[in-house]
Each structure stands twice: as C-alpha cells, then as structure tokens.
C-alpha cells in the first residue's frame, strides 16, 4: 500500500509513490538511486546512514541529523532532506577539505555518515568547541581510522568557523556564505517552506513516533506497509502554572535543549548525552521510551524519579495516570488499544536537585546496563522530598520506594549516602544477562547511588572512607 510522499531531496522537490512505512534510507538509495548514503546495520547503531532532516517550523527550517534506516519516509514528507550528495559542491569543498587533508577517510565507508553528522552539528551547535562536536559524532562508527584523523579534521573545521561565523547570526546562510553548504541548498530550503506539512494519522494500533524502537524490533513490518505517525510537530516542553508539561512526542534532544527545563532541573546536557547517540536522541521520544517499556529506558528512569504523571488520550477520552503505575509487569503496560500518551507532567518544585547516572561498557551509543535518577529536595538541611529510580535491575523500571522513604528527614551526609546505596542495592532484583551479572548490577547500583550524593552534594572523600 503506497502513498504519494513529497519532500525536498538535496536541491529539488521529489515525489515518490511508496509505502509510507518504508525507511527513508531505502527511498534514498533505491527510489532516488542516491548511493552515497550507506548502511551497515539498519539498527541505528552505526551512523553510516545519517541524513539531515530539515523540518519547517514557523517560517524557519530546523535541520537534524538522523539515522535514515529507522525513519519512515512518511515522516520526511514536507521536509528538506540533505544527503552526502547534497553537501557535495562538485569539488573538495571547505567541509570536505580537512577530512581529505587529515586522511580522515580510510576505507571510506563511514565517511558520508561522518560528514553529514558533522554538517548537522555545524547547523545546530551553540559553541565552536570540539567536545560537543565529538559528542555529536559518537553515533558514527569507524573501524579504520581510530577517529584521530576525524578529530583533527573536525577541530580544523570548527577553528575556521570560529573566526568566520558569529554564533548568533542565521547559521544556514552563514554556512552557505562560507562554502560549507552548497549554495543550491539555500533555494531548496525555501522550497521546503512551501511544501504542505505531512498529515499525521491517529488511532492506529502501533503508531510510530521516532521509530527508534519499532524499526529496530520489527523492521520487516514497515517496509511495505502504511504507517501511522504519532503527531510530532507540535509539542515541546512548556511551563503551565505549577507544572512542567512535556509533549509525549518531545525528544531526548528537546529535553537537552529546553531552556525551561534547565531552569527547573539544572542543565540536562550531561544527563541526556548519556542516552544513545545524537541521531537517535533527535528522534527518540519520551512517550516512545515509556511505551517501549525497556527496563533500562533512560528517560523512563528520569521521569520515575521525578514522579511524572501521564495524560493519556484515546477513544474513551482523557485520563491521567502516574508513570509509577504504568508498568504492570515485563513489557506489560496500563495502556489501552488506540490510546496515546499525549503529554507528561511533573510538578515544579523550586530547589529540586536532579541527577542521572548510568554506566555501560562503552560510554555512548548505548542502553545502560544499570541507570538511576535522583530528585531530592532539602529544607533546613534535611531531605524532605526524595525520588529515586533504577533501571536494569528488575523486569520493569523501578521506583526505589523503600530507599525514598529512608531518605526523608535525613541530612545529606556520607552516612545517609551509604544507607541509601545499600538500601537501593537491596531493593533491586537484577538477573544475569549480556549486560552483566546480577551481583555486578547490584554493585553498580550501589556505586551510582553514591555518585548521586557525590554530584548533588559534593561529597567525595567522605564516601570512600565510610566502611561498607
């Protein structure tokens, strides 16, 4: 079953009569016959398929680097898609030159993905420092270079732009002016603004939001199917009276970028960067994370600690449900057929101290082996409110209610930290699996709970010295 889907691909508008669920990757490589976009996993893990998706919003177009293997082509409708071919000025341009000069392409199979991811970073970055740039490349695997040449090339590009582009000026135009984007893209961007945005669909049993879980778990179900998209273009994160309200379709990157959220909970950059990789975070929605019901969902752990409330909308109308009551058992949810998570609410609590910790074998591009979030509030030097969650230590994401109770009324010192750490480890019910043995996960949770106290209250040496 196919639909006519139109978007701007590099320099011109294209229309394809294709199944709406077909991965954008296959439309680009197959229907559009552009083979510069590679694929090496089709699971969002390697970054070789990254393209830029420019979404028109309010007269502007916001470009994001996403893994095209996990994105239904329907979600590209009305957008401006830029692939490696679109970044090619027909010679070695200023974006490509440092990659060439530093030898940052060896077998070259990963190179298009790196260049497109980097272009996405240049379009969005708020600093010319290398750290965030490397972070945005953490979803691209290269088996040849060891990344040193890619780091050098990236640093050179940022060094050039630092002197040429003002962080506040319109970025797209500036990058075109400096030759980092071919000038034909400017006209293409205008074309995208003229396209009708895609029509979102409701009420289908398994709607796709970011697709970063569904397309990994059931890739074959979508290629030839129509697909219902969760409305993703409205929403975001806003303050409403005493509450912070998140659209269900707000993404991990939305959380990272939200000024409103940072004002309430502190800078979220560090926490969100621990989740997946940039092209995944750009698509990964909060509701998708909840409904996927992985015991180690990162956003789920965060919102558990924050004691969030879900607002569910379905044929039967609206209802509210605490997130803590949403999980009935392993992958078993209190979600009715056709029901969508419309929004998520947390109470604003001035002075709330939030922290998220996770450890995994490889820092990024990763689902935690164990994660935990803490939301604590002090009054007169004692803890009066405590939210503590843990993932990866039970069949469902866990609110550590026993430990939360233990914390109330205590002062945030080393003794409390150790008591909480031991209590949390005792509350956990981990099993042995690929991500670690049960013993290890308990040990890890204990360490991560200590880390909360270290980060939030600056306890350090005290924690080492208190005996277990």
């Amino acid at each position: 079953m196919s639909r006519l889907i139109s978007f701007v691909l590099n320099a011109s508008t294209v229309t394809f009569d294709v199944p709406a669920g077909r991965p954008l990757l296959d439309v680009i490589r197959g229907d559009a016959d552009l083979k510069g976009t590679k694929h090496a996993c089709r699971e969002g893990d390697c970054g070789s398929c990254v393209v830029l998706v420019g979404e028109p919003t309010g007269g502007a177009v916001r470009y994001r680097a996403v893994t095209s293997c996990l994105m239904p082509v329907a979600a590209a409708s009305g957008c401006h898609i830029i692939t490696i071919e679109g970044l090619d000025p027909g010679r070695i341009g200023p974006l490509q030159r440092p990659f060439v000069d530093e030898g940052a392409s060896q077998c070259g199979f990963c190179t298009p993905g790196f260049l497109v991811s980097l272009a996405g970073h240049l379009l969005n970055c708020t600093t010319w420092d290398v750290g965030p740039a490397f972070n945005s490349l953490a979803g691209n695997i290269c088996r040849c270079t060891g990344y040193a040449s890619i780091q050098r090339a990236t640093a050179r590009i940022l060094g050039t732009l630092r002197h040429r582009v003002d962080l506040d000026e319109p970025r797209f135009a500036a990058l075109v002016r400096e030759g980092f984007l071919p000038s034909v893209l400017r006209g293409a961007r205008a074309l995208a603004l003229g396209l009708e945005p895609s029509t979102d669909t409701h009420g289908v049993d398994r709607p796709v939001a970011g697709g970063t879980d569904l397309y990994v778990q059931r890739p074959d179900d979508f290629s030839f199917a129509d697909v219902a998209l969760v409305p993703t273009r409205r929403g975001g994160i806003r303050i409403e009276g005493g509450e912070i309200v998140f659209a269900g379709s707000a993404t991990a990157e939305d959380m990272k970028r939200s000024r409103e959220l940072a004002a309430e909970l502190g800078d979220m950059t560090g926490a969100m960067d621990l989740m997946g990789s940039l092209p995944i975070r750009e698509r990964a929605t909060i509701a998708g994370n909840f409904v996927n019901a992985s015991p180690i969902g990162d956003m789920t752990a965060m919102f558990m600690a924050l004691d969030a409330e879900l607002e569910l909308v379905g044929d039967g109308g609206r209802r509210a449900l605490p997130l803590r009551s949403f999980y009935l058992g392993y992958k078993n949810l209190d979600l009715r057929p056709g029901e969508l998570i419309d929004s998520i609410r947390i109470k604003r609590r001035p002075g709330l101290l939030f922290n998220f910790e996770k450890v995994s074998k490889r820092t990024h591009l990763d689902i935690a082996s164990v994660n935990t979030a803490a939301a604590l509030r002090l009054e007169n030097g004692v803890i009066v409110e405590a939210g503590l969650s843990a993932g990866g230590v039970a069949p469902v994401p866990l609110a550590l209610v026993g430990t939360e109770a233990l914390l109330i009324g205590r002062s945030p010192d080393a003794e409390t930290a150790w008591a909480a750490a031991h209590s949390a480890a005792a509350e956990a019910k981990p099993i042995d699996d690929v991500r670690g043995s049960a013993v290890y996960k308990r040990l890890l949770l204990r360490q991560l709970v200590l880390a909360h106290f270290q980060v939030i209250f600056g306890l350090a040496d005290e924690l080492v010295e208190v005996p277990a």
Binding site: E85, Q106, C107, G108, R143, S149
Partner: protein
C-alpha cells in the same frame, strides 16, 4: 579453500621474473615520505565512490541465506515448497540442488565441509539460499523454508572441548592438528637460575573484525563468463575459487573490487555467499546480489579466537631472562584454523631456555579467520603483562627491562640476522617522546580517580614477498597510468603507489591514474592483508616505474646526444647532470610521441636469503581509572613504529591510530558473547558488541615513525604497518591499568565490571 590465501604463500617460492631495470633506493625523496592525501579523496568525501554494496544492475535479484539456529545439528530434511511459491521468488537452493555439492573449508589439501553441509557445526551455518525481486521477499522466503534438524550435543568452551566425552565437532576428536611445540635450551635449568619468577594465566576474548561494509557480492553471467563485484581484500583468490567451483578457465571469471569498506582479515577468504549468488544468477539468468545482514557478519564471517595463555617467566636479579614456559589454548571454532599465540614469547626477548606450546581446539562456534596480526595481540597481552610484573619483581623500570632483554637476532637454530630491526629505537625514542619518566611520576594510586602509565613492545612475524606484477604506462602528454592487482582496503595503497611513480618519473601525483583490483584488467597481486601489501607490491611499482624511466632516458639520451646515465628527470624535464644546457621536456622526447606511450613492467624480487624481516613497535599510554564505576579513560597514546621507510606519513600515522582503536576494542570493550545454553551469539549487533566510538579512544594520539629504510630487504626499504599498529595496544593499556590500581586484571576486556570486581576484592584483601 580457506587457508591457502591467508597471509602466507604456501608451497614452492613463487617465480619472480627478472626486472629489466634495477631500481636503487632513492638518494633523497621529495614525494615519498611526505603527507599526501588520497588520490581518490574526492570520490570518498562526495559519496560517489561505488562500493560493491552499492552495485545495482538492471534486473538484479536479491539473495538471502537461511542459517542453522543450532550450534550442532544434522539436517534431516528441507522443505522449500512454500518458499518457492512466494511472490517474487526466483530461486531456492539447498544441498539437494544439483551443482551445490561444493567442497568447502580446506586445510592441508582436504575439505571438511560443503557449501550446504548435512551437518551444521555452529549456529549460523548455511542451510539454504533464496533469490527474489526484493531483499524483503528473499528474507520472507528464507523464513518460509522448513527444516527438520536432529539437534546434537555441542561444545562452545575451549577448555571443555578437550574434556573426555566432550561432543566431537568433527570425527577424530576436538584437537586441531598437533599442538605446535617450540623448545630450546633447558627449561628446568633456566628456572633454577632465576631469582624471580612470575607465573600467571591470561585470557583474551573472541573479537569480531566488524568492518563497516558488510560482506557480500553481486554476480552476473554473460554466457559462460562470470563477473563478480566483491567486497574483498583480494580479487585473485576469489577468481581462483570461482574457476574451480564452476570448472571454468580463470579467464572466464572477472572479479572486481575497486572500493571496499574494510576487512581486517575477514575478507581474505572467498565467501560462500559469493558462490551462492553466482549459482542463483546462473539459474535465473539475472544478476544476483547477496550482502549479509549485520547479524550474519557477526556470526559467520570470522573472528579473532579467544585465547587462554599461561606463562611462567624467570629472570636473574640483574634482570637477565633465564626461562620462559608458555602455553596457549585457543578455539578455531567449527573449522580448522591455527589459534596460535606464542611467537612473541618465542622470539621477542633473548631467552636461552624456552618451551612454547600452542593448542587449538574445535568448538561449535563461528570459525576463526586471520584478524589483524593473528595471534599476536593475544600473545602480547600475556607476555607483555608478565614482563611488567617481572620487571617490578627485579626492581627495574619496565622499559629498561625490555631493552636489556631484546633479542637482536632470530633465535632459531641456527640463529638468523634481522635485515633491519629498530625495536630498541622504538622503545628508547618512544619513551622519550612520550615523556615516560614524567608520566610515571604523575602516577596516582589512591582515591577515586587513579592514574597510571603502561607500555608494550612487539614485532610482527611476516613481511611479505613475491609475487607481484605492476605495469606503468607513460603517455605522450606526460601523464601516467599505474596498474596493479592489489586491493586498496582503506590503507591507501593506490596513493602510495602513485607516489612511488611520481617520485621515480617526476610526474605529479594528480596526473597519475591508478587501476587496481580487477582480475580482467589488472596485474597480479596477492590479497591485501598481513601488513604485506606495501613491502610486497611497492618494489614492483618501483621496478615498473624504473623500467619506464630507463626507456625514456634512453630515448632522451639519443636526442640530446649524452649518455643515459648522465640524465635525470626534474620537474617534467629530462636534464643532463653534467651539462645544464642539455635538457628536454619529457613530452618533447620524440620516441614517446611516436610510440604513443612507454610501458614498463615491474616484478617483486625475491626476498634475501639467510635473514628475516620483522616490522616492530612499542606503544605507550597513560590512563585514568574511576574506581567508583570501573570506567577507564585513555588520556594519551603514543606509538613508536619501525616499518622501514615511510612512504606516506599521513596514512602511516593514521594507520597507527586505527590499529590502536582496534586494540582498545580487544583490551577494553569488545567481546563475543555466546549463550551457554544454545551456543548462539547473543550480542551480534553494534549495540551489544562494543566497537569503540570517537569518545572511547585516547584523548590524544601521537605517532613516532622510526623511518629507517630496510635496504637489505627490498628495493623500497619498506616493511608493513597494519598489524604491528594493533599488537601492543591492549597490553599497554593493561599495564597502565595495573600501574594505576596496583592489581592486575588478567582477563580482557577490562570492562567496568571487571575493574569494579577487582577493586572490590582488593578492598576485601586489605
């Protein structure tokens, strides 16, 4: 068909025709040794390079392969009726299909399996294949094939494979061949002399090559001529295999591999998928493309085997090594492979008394293949950690301890000299450049964040040789065409080859076009692997360019009325050394214009007799270990490398950094996990199998090229680099971590869990 085209050329030494021009080493160079970007850089950064994975032909079908889900099973029956009827399906092949009874997995002249064998010896073994209009139709049809298996007991653990009563992977027990035993001196006497002895068992886990381009091919028939686009490290072995399989002359088979997205040893063998694509292409008279899903790349395209290595090593109190007793056990997987690791222990250090034994066993798991320096990183993991412990016991700095004991000749019987061996310089200059002393003094052994330094040394036991044939053509306009057989697997083969021609003929690199990796139009080369492409093929390139030069200068000498020996080429001009007035633009050489082109053929000369050639290296690193989470942060890495003459400094450095990342994988992040109950790989994806990312490598990288041409070895003075770049890395990290923690974690990878558990048990001991 597997081990014949590994790194080593078996059998009689290949015939090497005499070169008609003898190339001498360059007195000074202008192009060679500089930093050169790639000749095909634009194609790589614009997305226009066409990889085999990108090949799409009119009418092309897509193939998929059905694999056995059991670690060990007999195929009793296969029912393809439903699959054959499915929409879009054009061919289904199984062991019952005529023409599929093709012997497979050769060792020592005998084959131990077939294309679709009746016995599946690992979870992932091929059972059937389908060709259909779309990849999804092929995948669906594969799922519709019904197979009845008799499930057999299996063994996946290397130690258990040798236990009495263990399930037999093949008839005749689970030992692969005879253990390899190497002995010298008197071991007991050696340990008797020792004042300090270290004895420990080390373990490395199974690592997967995981090149970014998946394995696969496209096959197309034109009558009885077959063309195959293959993601391979060497087109000629694939041609040879296909000629044998289809009983066709080699000239009927054309294999093309212009671009390929990485191999690391996994793409040295001809893939079963290539043969299946060709069979189905012939059946359907349509081109067929089979590329493996990532999961299959993980399970069925080879690995670096896990090894368990026990080493006992002794030294006198003055630091002189007296004895090494080394034992290694490794798993070949389901088909024969030598999982040996002992070479470093046998040859790296001078030690008169030694016993080294390598045992390889069959297990019901994916077959091992040579992976970037097969056996050596594992051997370094054991030997170089033991050397550090022993250095500490005798109270000598680990670098000084190594220098004191370095072997300076091959300890064979009789001993043989090395052609050039700069390992002492690697250690000394490397330590100086790294700031070893200062870094060691910065060591932090208490608190949450510890810091330590580590180093490890190595050689790589192979340096290449003949055969290799290269043709260079100089056109009338002074541009040149270079034709060689070797695949450029990402290492920059085409670029250094062009640089050699540029150096020799004075033609600018951008006026040279390179043709390579095509059995129909290209010259012959062995596959690119084993760090042997540069030392094997660069002398042939030089010889071909020199042959052109000799003819060109001969013609110019007649025109200028001087002796050819008086002429040289400078900036596109033929110039007399003795009389500056006599010069001629290359394009003004009349015979060049009249002939249209001058062609030169170059051959790889034989290696010198009575000596051996090893590239070698030392690597140094500084790490931080977080004792709360067990996470390791690698602050910096320096590699000091002797690979003979440096051809391209840019690709040289980058090769070293790439090798380090793979070593970080072996040492810290990567590990194949098999389910003990089913024998299946449970982390066959990039999510759970951790290839290092840009955030996992060292914060800073440095490379010190020792750059001493090995003139006794070959005409370009080159040795290889790809393998030594990764050999010492993991061991250096382990030494740095041990330096920081004061305890040694002997099993790789050094995951947060391993570190945390070690730190935890240290606490209990204290």
């Amino acid at each position: 068909m597997t081990d014949r085209h590994d790194y080593h050329v078996n059998g009689p030494l290949p015939e090497t025709p005499d070169n008609d021009a003898t190339a001498g080493a360059w007195p000074k160079t202008t192009v060679i040794g500089s930093r050169r970007s790639r000749v095909d850089a634009y194609e790589r950064v614009s997305g226009t390079a066409v990889y085999p994975h990108d090949v799409s032909l009119p009418g092309m079908l897509h193939g998929a392969i059905l694999r056995c889900p059991h670690a060990h099973a007999k195929v009793l029956s296969i029912d393809t009726t439903a699959a054959e009827k499915m929409a879009g399906v054009h061919a289904v092949i199984t062991r019952a299909t005529p023409g599929t009874d093709i012997p497979w997995y050769e060792r020592g002249g005998t084959f131990s399996s077939t294309l679709f064998d009746a016995t599946c010896r690992y979870a992932g073994e091929e059972v059937a294949a389908v060709a259909a209009e779309t990849p999804l139709q092929a995948a669906d049809a594969v799922r519709a094939i019904e197979v009845t298996y008799e499930v057999l007991p299996f063994v996946i653990d290397d130690a258990e494979a040798l236990a009495p009563g263990a399930p037999a992977v093949h008839d005749g027990g689970n030992m692969v061949g005879e253990p390899r035993l190497r002995e010298r001196g008197d071991l007991a006497a050696g340990f008797g002399e020792a004042d300090a002895v270290v004895e420990r068992t080390y373990r490395t886990e199974c690592q997967i090559h995981a090149p970014m381009e998946p394995h696969g091919s496209v096959a197309r028939w034109d009558g009885n001529r077959l063309t195959v686009w293959d993601s391979t490290q060497g087109v000629f072995p694939v041609q040879e295999t296909l000629a044998r399989v289809f009983a066709l002359p080699m000239s009927n088979i054309r294999v093309i591999g212009h671009y390929m997205g990485g191999g690391f040893g996994a793409k040295l063998e001809t893939g079963k998928y290539t043969v299946m694509a060709a069979i189905m292409a012939r059946m359907t008279a349509r081109p067929v493309k089979i590329f493996l899903p990532r999961e299959d790349c993980f399970t069925a395209t080879g690995n670096r085997p896990a090894n368990t290595m026990t080493i006992k090593i002794g030294a006198r109190s003055d630091g002189t090594l007296t004895a090494i007793d080394y034992h290694s056990l490794g798993a070949a997987g389901a088909y024969a492979y030598g999982a040996d690791t002992s070479s470093l222990a046998v040859y790296l250090y001078r030690c008169p008394n030694l016993r080294a034994e390598d045992v390889t066993v069959y297990t019901n798991a994916g077959k091992a293949r040579p992976m970037r320096a097969p056996g050596f990183p594992q051997g370094a993991w054991a030997l170089e950690q033991a050397m550090n412990e022993l250095a500490a016991k005798v109270g000598i700095d680990p670098i000084a301890f190594r220098l004191q004991n370095l072997a300076t000749e091959l300890q064979s019987d009789p001993p043989m000299p090395y052609t050039s061996y700069q390992l002492a310089a690697c250690l000394e200059n490397g330590a100086a450049a790294f700031g070893w002393q200062e870094a060691a003094e910065r060591r932090v052994t208490e608190g949450d964040i510890r810091r330590g330094v580590g180093a490890a040394a190595c050689f790589w036991g192979y340096a290449g040789g003949p055969p290799s044939t290269v043709v260079v053509k100089l056109f009338a306009d002074g541009s040149a065409n270079l034709n060689l057989g070797a695949s450029d697997i990402g290492t920059g083969t085409k670029t250094w080859a062009a640089m050699i021609v540029a150096e020799e003929l004075g033609v600018p690199v951008d006026r040279i076009q390179v043709e390579n990796a095509d059995t129909a139009t290209g010259q012959y080369a062995t596959p690119s692997g084993g760090s042997k492409t540069v030392p094997s093929d660069s002398p042939a390139v030089l010889a071909a360019a020199a042959a052109v030069k000799r003819q060109l200068l001969g013609f110019a000498a007649e025109q200028l009325e001087v002796e050819p020996g008086d002429l040289e080429i400078r900036d596109g001009e033929v110039v007399s050394r003795s009389d500056g007035e006599k010069h001629l633009a290359v394009t003004a050489v009349e015979m060049l214009g009249r002939r249209g082109l001058i062609m030169g053929t170059g051959y790889r000369d034989p290696n010198p007799e009575g000596s051996v050639t090893f590239p070698c290296a030392a690597q140094f690193c500084e790490v931080e270990v977080d004792t709360r989470t067990g996470e390791i942060r690698i602050l910096r890495f320096l590699g000091a490398h002797d690979s003979g003459r440096v051809l391209n400094r840019l690709t040289f450095d980058n090769q070293v950094f790439g090798g380090m990342a793979m070593g970080i994988g072996l040492g810290v992040t990567e590990e194949r996990v098999l389910d003990r109950r089913t024998g299946r790989m449970v982390n066959a994806n990039f999510h759970d199998y951790k290839v290092p990312t840009i955030l996992d490598v060292a914060d800073s990288h440095a490379c010190l090229a020792i750059d001493v041409p090995d003139e006794a070895f070959n005409s370009t003075g080159t040795k290889g680099l790809g393998e030594p770049a990764t050999i010492p890395t993991a061991a250096a990290i382990a030494n740095a971590v041990a330096d920081a923690l004061g305890i040694r974690v002997t099993a790789a990878p050094l995951t947060p869990r391993a570190i945390l558990e070690a730190v935890g048990s240290q606490g209990k001991e204290a």
